[in-house]
């Protein structure tokens, strides 16, 4: 369930606007039951990670700048202060040279051109 919570939370942050359970379900790649999405949203709301308001018969949810977000900020600030950040953790991607960047753009164009 932890992984689904992450996926839902990530989607709400990405959306940038309040989403109803139906909206969350449409945006997720997987085929999730409506009730599952509702349960996850309610749990995240109870944890204080989301805020909500009534939208017709359902609630619309959006991420709150919560304790967890503040903790994440503190964590990031601490890590940025340490001189060798890459020793403590692994960044998703590194820096690129100009040559690498051109090559990657070409590959991306090729991948996007595929059906």
């Amino acid at each position: 369930m932890g992984e689904l919570e992450s996926a839902v939370l990530a989607q709400l942050w990405a959306a940038g606007e309040p989403l109803t359970p139906a909206g969350v379900r449409d945006g997720l790649g997987d085929e999730l039951a409506y009730t599952t999405v509702m349960t996850i949203l309610a749990r995240l709301w109870e944890k204080g990670l989301l805020r909500r308001e009534r939208r017709g018969r359902a609630f619309a949810y959006w991420p709150s700048v919560s304790e967890a977000e503040l903790a994440a900020q503190r964590m990031r600030a601490t890590l940025d202060r340490t001189t060798d950040r890459e020793k403590a953790l692994a960044s998703f991607v590194d820096e690129l040279s100009v040559k690498d960047e051109r090559a990657l753009r070409r590959i991306l164009g090729r991948l996007d051109a595929k059906p």
């Binding site: 932890g2 992984e3 919570e5 992450s6 996926a7 939370l9 990530a10 989607q11 942050w13 990405a14 940038g16 945006g27 997720l28 790649g29 944890k47 990670l49 991420p63 700048v65 304790e67 967890a68 977000e69 903790a71 994440a72 900020q73 503190r74 964590m75 990031r76 601490t78 890590l79 340490t82 001189t83 060798d84 950040r85 890459e86 020793k87 403590a88 953790l89 692994a90 960044s91 998703f92 991607v93 590194d94 820096e95 690129l96 040279s97 690498d100 960047e101 090559a103 990657l104 753009r105 590959i107 991306l108 991948l111 996007d112 595929k114």
Partner: protein, 297 residues
């Protein structure tokens, strides 16, 4: 005796330098394990050899020999160590110990306070960034900017990639390499290869999780292009072989499974190397030392 100490350490260093080139058929998890063992073996072997030579040399110095008499008892079958070997050994042990202490201090510094619940922590920041913070439990820290940049399936790739780092404890591999490099600085190249190997490992796990290698390649490219101006150390980063190598590997067929024949072959080779390097440790000295401490010897 000197040859018996120096040769295994040198052999381990040479083999370690030549070996473990990332191979397309080799699963990156096998590569990462092999590199960590190579780094640890070479560092341990070099440290043990230098320490034995240094102690042997110091025990021949008149005033010191009284205080090191127990050591002389252990070493009585050994030849005298000439100053031309002994003095550099003493210096080397001091330098290695200093490097080890400094590396340990840095590792303590990077501990992060404050652990909220929940796997995913989102930072409300428009600049795209994402990484794994190891711990119990570990966390995935992602900025809102990164989440907005990616499409739904690409977000799954990102989370699966960081989850792999946390699940397999990749930071421990990097810590081993960092300590080994602190002892034997020429091992820096092993650290660089290991960093690539654990990223490749997480990429392969993400590809298995979403079932689409091209999707993982796409996600990495899009994230890399978006974050290209973020870091503060471009000179360091230019030398890294990160994203292009990872993308190329993902656009090629999947490697052999983690415990397939190529991985087992490399594992056997690395185990042999570890034994050669370990022979420098001379376990009988430890027994003799323990006997001395316990008053038996």
């Amino acid at each position: 005796m000197i040859a018996a100490l120096v040769l295994p350490a040198l052999a381990a260093l040479v083999v370690g330098t030549v070996a473990a080139p990332p191979h397309r058929r080799l699963h990156p998890s096998a590569g990462a394990r092999a590199l960590a063992v190579v780094a640890a073996s070479v560092a341990l072997g070099a440290y043990a050899a230098a320490t034995t030579l240094a102690v042997g040399f110091l025990s021949s110095v008149p005033w010191l020999s009284e205080h090191l008499s127990w050591c002389m008892r252990l070493a009585r079958t050994h030849d005298d160590i000439p100053a031309v070997v002994g003095l550099p050994s003493v210096v080397a042990v001091a330098a290695m110990t200093g490097g080890l202490l400094r590396a340990g201090g840095r590792a303590r510094q990077s501990m992060v306070p404050g652990r909220p619940t929940g796997e995913l922590l989102v930072v409300d920041d428009g600049r795209p960034d994402a990484y794994a913070v190891p711990g119990r439990p570990g966390h995935i820290v992602v900025t809102a900017g990164m989440l907005r940049l990616l499409e739904p399936m690409e977000r799954e790739v990102l989370l699966a990639h960081e989850r792999s780092h946390l699940r397999h404890g990749h930071h421990r591999y990097l810590a081993v390499a960092a300590l080994a490099t602190a002892v034997v600085p020429v091992l820096g190249f092993v650290t660089r290869r290991l960093r690539l190997a654990v990223e490749r490992w997480a990429d392969e796990d993400a590809a298995a999780a979403v079932g689409d290698r091209e999707l993982v390649a796409r996600t990495i490219i899009r994230a890399a292009l978006a974050t290209r101006n973020l870091g503060a150390q471009p000179s360091l980063a230019l030398g890294r072989v990160g994203v292009p190598a990872r993308v190329e590997a993902l656009l090629n067929p999947a490697p052999a499974p983690p415990f397939g024949p190529p991985s087992l072959a490399v594992g056997a080779g690395v185990a042999g190397l570890a034994i050669v390097a370990g022979s420098v440790l001379q376990v009988h000295h430890l027994f003799a030392f323990a006997a001395h401490v316990c008053g038996v010897g």
